[in-house]
């Protein structure tokens, strides 16, 4: 049992450190500078960056990637700025989110952003009302986006398949 737990700890740590953004997680010595710098941790008990890192290093994979906490990072980077161990904490959170999304754990708002970039090359659509307002104020017409190039990039990295997986799991 003990041996198995150890293996799973190593596996999840390896999974994180081999991902872009997750490389520095093992430097953490649990000082809590991140949590004390965090505007979200000051506001809600649902989020504590030090705890997320501890859970991850303990190998509690499901608790981390199926949970709500990783989605509460505001990406303000204050923790990362101040970490004495140079753990790139905000980037570690991105790595954890990237893993979670591959398992079909994608909050609706993120699915909406993904749909926007895939269909229009931008995450906020331009309404007819705004197009008219722009013209009224003398702003130049917007140039077309490179949406076709974006689609090819999404296909080259497998991003389009991540969203497909979400469709399957529903």
């Amino acid at each position: 049992m003990m041996a198995q737990e150890k293996t799973s700890t190593t596996d999840f740590t390896k999974e994180i450190t081999s991902r872009m953004g997750g490389e520095t997680i093992t430097y953490c010595y649990q000082c809590g500078t991140c949590a004390s710098s965090c505007p979200v941790a000051k506001t809600t008990e649902r989020y504590n960056p030090r705890q997320i890192i501890r859970l991850a290093l303990l190998g509690l994979r499901q608790d981390v990637i199926a949970g709500d906490a990783i989605w509460l990072c505001a990406s303000c980077y204050q923790c990362q700025e101040r970490c004495p161990q140079k753990v790139e904490i905000a980037d570690v959170i991105y790595a954890l989110r990237n893993i979670a999304i591959r398992e079909g754990n994608i909050p609706n708002i993120y699915a909406e952003f993904a749909a926007g970039i895939t269909s229009e090359g931008r995450i906020v659509p331009i309404s007819k009302f705004l197009e008219k307002k722009r013209a009224d104020y003398g702003l130049p017409p917007l140039k077309p986006t490179g949406v076709e190039a974006v689609k090819k990039i999404l296909s080259a990295t497998g991003f389009d398949k991540i969203m497909f997986k979400k469709g399957e799991s529903q």
Partner: protein, 291 residues
Amino acid sequence: MTTYALFLGCTIPARQPHYELSARKALTKLGIELVDLENMTCCAPPPLQSIDLETSLAIAAYNICLAEEADLHIVTLCTGCFESLAMTNTLLKEKEELRERVNKILSKVGKEFKGNKEVRHYLQVLMKDVGVDQLKRSVVKPLNKLKVASFSGCHLLRPSALLRFDDPERPKIFDTLIEALGAKSIWYRNKLRCCGGLLRGYADDVALAIARDKIVNATEAGADCISTLCPFCFLTLDLGQMLIKSSYKEEYNMPIVHYAELLSLSLGVEPKELALDFHKVKIDRVLEKVG
């Protein structure tokens, strides 16, 4: 004349014409020519980085490639766009292995990141290309009566290891540029703290509580307005006050004004040219003090 490729991003053209208008007017007045390039896309900000970091780097790099091909440096208005693009530019310039990995993806769309252009936020253009002295000389309506709570937003400063904009704990550039217009940049509690904007849509109550803190702190410090650079901060604090009114039953009426708007006003642009109807919290008390 200095020429830049203007990277507009998604939110400013779609939601905040007052930002785009004031920035275009002010920068043009100060001798900066802005070119709108075709095919630019979303910058791949945190919501997309959350889905896949590698894809986000490739999309940001694709946009930088467009500027490289046009032989222009990029200027951004949105601090979110600044972060995505400047971070990518630094990473790909300095990490060969990563550059090769991203260039392999970009080869599918006939692009190659070369790393010979800069990504600048427009405050850097004001500092470096215009200069504080020239800016001061260009002011025709000094904002002497105005007390401004500056709020740069997180992604102008952090992660500082990659953005290299200013000291992340004791930044000076934004305040210097506010004071160059004659206004007083005031200190307020937790000035550098996040507005919570990126939590909107996932945890609205948490986002609003963090935004409320910002409004309360600026109000207690006696600010006439909060000045922003980021369209998300603007939305979070401006629309946020409507939400605070319904959720907390509190009314602050704190005007949220993009720095580009203050800049335009001080350079003599008339308020009626600035699409000010896009502000939820009316900014009349700012206009009165501008005179």
